[in-house]
């Protein structure tokens, strides 16, 4: 049999259900590989011994009716986990142990998942390279000099490096899709309201959405089906008919209309990205779907709009980290002094930068010019998609304007870092579902992803298209386990 850790989630589930593998064997295998993979710095908190005892317990009294029986899973450290430290990649929460569980992770445990540990991420999910984490940067299993993308960089490294059979990330402006693209894996950002935000450390509430990151579309569908539930504890959770995504998954997409937005042909886009896109279009045709040119005219305003709305919400969401109730506190002469020292020492530069931007755009005198205008533009961007979806069933674009960049390459230039999100942020602003699937390699051999954007709450159709393309593309990741000595 193939080594355990190289098996897909779907295969592992089958093998556990057929009693070819025990939960303990599987859990042990991923723990061993994770322990050999410390150089990637994918984990912030390991929970291996608990995972093992849970696996043993599962084996003693296995319930094979569950969807992921006894499957070990490491999750992004933005999800609050009961009794397990949850840091959001920040010093200010470096000692924080929740007494509660996020709805998304609870859904995973309810279906038989076992927590392996908490994965590294950009601080408060603010970053596109996992370099803003207080716990250090994560290395891309593709190459030791490359960033894994961000903010779900630890998750992307862990799934591509096979430290976990499946994982979850969060995506506010591309934080699942961009790292998936950089690591040659599959990442789904569901429709806003599909997965509960309860218990996820908030970055920008109107944009944040949790989603699965996997080796395959099939695995992605299975986990999405598990984590997406209506949750009355989140007022923005949507109560819609949820498909059995993995069961209903089909490659039959004949006759589907796929849009190609001309505005995504941005200046200075590398030729290989353009080529990849073209290749994707051919595959779509091969599957019997129809290609239609569309226009999303407000696309160029998406990035500035995003960088007003997201920081505005973040500046308010992060006000609670004040040293008073939990987390890191620095000593101060008085209340204001304590606030200033706690927040100066507790937050990293990127977080502070966004808090300042957010505070500025909400200030009286600037609110109308920035925040209010950004909200109006956001509506226009959403209208663009609504118009397009009168003609097409889905839209296909590149996931990112480049392949993974080098560690340290963009840290001193925040704007070039922000430009990484250019293809992904419009989707968050419109609240739509989108998936990044690996579609090829650039000349350096680094993976490149294609993004498929679906209609709101039509995750099934989106996954079907991805499933069909995945087969045509038959992508193979070139990972040589360089970090394992």
């Amino acid at each position: 049999m193939n080594s355990i850790t190289s098996q897909s989630l779907t295969t592992l589930v089958k093998n556990i259900k057929n009693k070819k593998l025990s939960s303990e064997e599987v859990t042990k295998a991923f723990i061993e590989r994770s322990e050999k993979s410390k150089d990637l710095n994918a984990y912030i908190t390991e929970d291996y011994s608990n995972a093992l005892s849970k696996a043993k317990k599962f084996d003693q009294n296995p319930n094979f009716d569950l969807k992921i029986p006894g499957i070990p899973i490491a999750v992004k450290d933005l999800f609050c986990t009961n009794n397990v430290k949850t840091t959001a990649g920040s010093k200010i929460l470096s000692n924080f142990i929740p007494t509660y569980e996020s709805t998304v992770t609870q859904n995973i445990w309810n279906e038989g998942g076992i927590l392996l540990g908490k994965l590294n991420c950009d601080e408060f999910a603010m970053g596109s390279s996992n370099e803003t984490s207080f716990f250090g940067n994560v290395k891309n299993p593709i190459d030791k000099d490359l960033v894994p993308g961000g903010s779900s960089g630890g998750s992307a490294a862990a799934i591509s490096g096979q430290l976990t059979p499946i994982t979850i990330g969060t995506d506010t402006g591309g934080s699942i899709r961009q790292p998936a693209s950089f690591t040659g894996t599959v990442g789904l950002k569901p429709t806003y309201g599909s997965c509960s935000r309860y218990g996820i450390v908030a970055f920008a509430s109107s944009l944040d959405q949790a989603g699965p990151m996997a080796q395959s579309v099939q695995d992605c569908a299975l986990l999405q089906e598990i984590i997406s539930t209506y949750d009355p504890k989140d007022s923005t959770s949507a109560d819609f008919k949820r498909n059995s995504l993995s069961k209903e998954l089909t490659r039959e997409i004949k006759g589907k209309k796929i849009g190609i937005p001309k505005e995504y042909r941005v200046d200075g886009m590398p030729g290989e990205i353009e080529k990849l896109w073209q290749k994707g279009i051919e595959y779509v045709k091969d599957c019997g779907a129809e290609i239609i040119d569309i226009s999303l005219p407000h696309t160029k305003y998406a990035l500035p709009t995003y960088y007003i709305i997201a920081p505005a919400e973040a500046s308010s969401n992060l006000a609670r980290y004040d040293g008073v109730k939990y987390g890191f506190r620095s000593k101060g002469e008085n209340l204001i002094d304590m606030y200033e020292k706690t927040r100066s020492e507790g937050f990293g530069d990127e977080v502070k930068r966004r808090i300042i931007i957010g505070t500025y755009v909400l200030s009286s005198g600037y609110y109308d010019a920035y925040y209010l205008k950004a909200q109006k533009v956001r509506k226009l961007i959403k209208n663009d998609f609504d118009e397009a979806y009168k003609k097409v069933d889905a839209i296909i674009t590149p996931s990112t304007p480049s392949s993974a960049f080098k560690i340290g390459e963009k840290t001193s230039d925040p704007v070039s870092m922000y430009l990484n999100d250019i293809f992904t942020v419009p989707v968050n602003l419109a609240g739509l579902p989108a998936i990044s699937i690996p579609a090829g390699h650039d000349t350096k051999g680094y993976p490149l992803g294609l993004q498929i954007i679906g209609k709101a709450f039509q995750e099934q159709e989106l996954l079907n298209i991805a499933y069909a393309l995945e087969e045509k593309i038959s992508f193979k990741n070139k990972i040589k386990d360089w970090w394992i000595k």
Partner: protein, 487 residues
Amino acid sequence: MSKENTEYLISRNKKIYEVIIGLEVHAQVISNSKLFSSSSTKFGAEPNTQVSLVDAAFPGMLPVINEFCIKQAIKTGLGLRAKINKRSVFDRKNYFYADLPQGYQISQFNYPIVGEGSVIIDMPNGQKTVGIERLHLEQDAGKSIHDMDPQNTLIDLNRSGVALMEIVSKPDLRSPEEVSAYIKKLRSIMRYLGTCDGNMQEGSLRADVNVSVRLKGTEKLGTRCEIKNVNSIKFMQMAINYEANRQVDLIEDGKTINQETRLFDTKKNETRSMRNKEDAHDYRYFPDPDLLPLEVSDEFINKLIAEIPELPDDKKKRFIDKFKLSSYEATILVSDLETSKYFEEVVENSDVKLATNWITGDLFAVLNDKNLEISQSPVSAKNLSKLINLIKNGTISGKIAKTIFELMMDGDKDPSKIVEEKELKQESDPKELEAIINKVIQDNPDKVRDFKSGKTKLFGFFVGLVMKVSGGKANPQLVNDILKQKL
């Protein structure tokens, strides 16, 4: 300084200034749980025992609107004859303070749940309508305790997240008396509705008072100062008095009034500057992305309309029509829901006139004296109506009734039992009375002579004497009749 009608006018150097007052009342919503969490709202619990993860703003915690609080706010809006906004939005008001765990207060800024309405107040010279600008829902903050620990400020989050209604009046009030009448009326309406208990001692009702002055007869409003968080009607009146005169003095000295927030120092009876417009907080209001806009249907509102009880204004009208009460009497009897209920229970079986007098007279005096609410009255409505009937059917005199009333207060005793036990039944047997009267006439030949020679005022003397001899039990009407015959 002079007071004409209910306006408060300040005279200086032959100029007359009028005082313009608007109130922002913060009324705690009656609700078992908080505005966005399921924690209890009970007053007086041990510190930090009524705090959920949401109230303490733990990471990833989200607010979920309490539908009951929405109903309470809409009901209050209906009681204020106000426009109910079918769509309203919750905003974040951002500021840092140790007892504000989220770093922002969830409130309503541009789109409040209730729009314009009005409140009618009764003043000695007639009724006055006070405009309501808006009513919005917001969260209360926690409490900072500065005097329990020498080194540290302690925080109690029990109140954090409790639902408040901020009721903003138009600048329609013109005197401390009108402010008092307005607050009392507002409180009365909310108590009738069961939406706020109006308990100012417990902080369930407090107000920010906006005061400005202008020359009488001019249109333009003067610069206003906001006096924060005043928690009794008396203090509001004192603060307005001080503040209005301070502003007039400034104008008369040729100085300008700064728009600012002030605090009322209850010990020194003065207002003090807290912060001026320049260092006013920039609250960076924006719609709370954790909450969708609140939309209520006509059906939802109509259900609430059906639940609205008879309110003070309607009840007053009914009392006047049905019981022929004066406007003054009716106002007093309806101002408090429990009083009106008590009154209706008493008059169900007894005389209205006597009931009105007994309740507003003797009973109120006792309650006032003992600092009791009418619901804690030592004499029940049932027994008071029995007492009134004993007077009405001539069993006892009004004077004896007062004695009996005193005795009733010891454990809400049945007045007819007291009459029996103490043998206080009125003497209405003419023969018995004649005997007493004959004796009185015999014992006072001089007075009889004087009376007959024209000193008719002495009639009262004889009545008094007869009453005294009878131990107060003689039926006064019969005594009068017999005396007239005998003399």
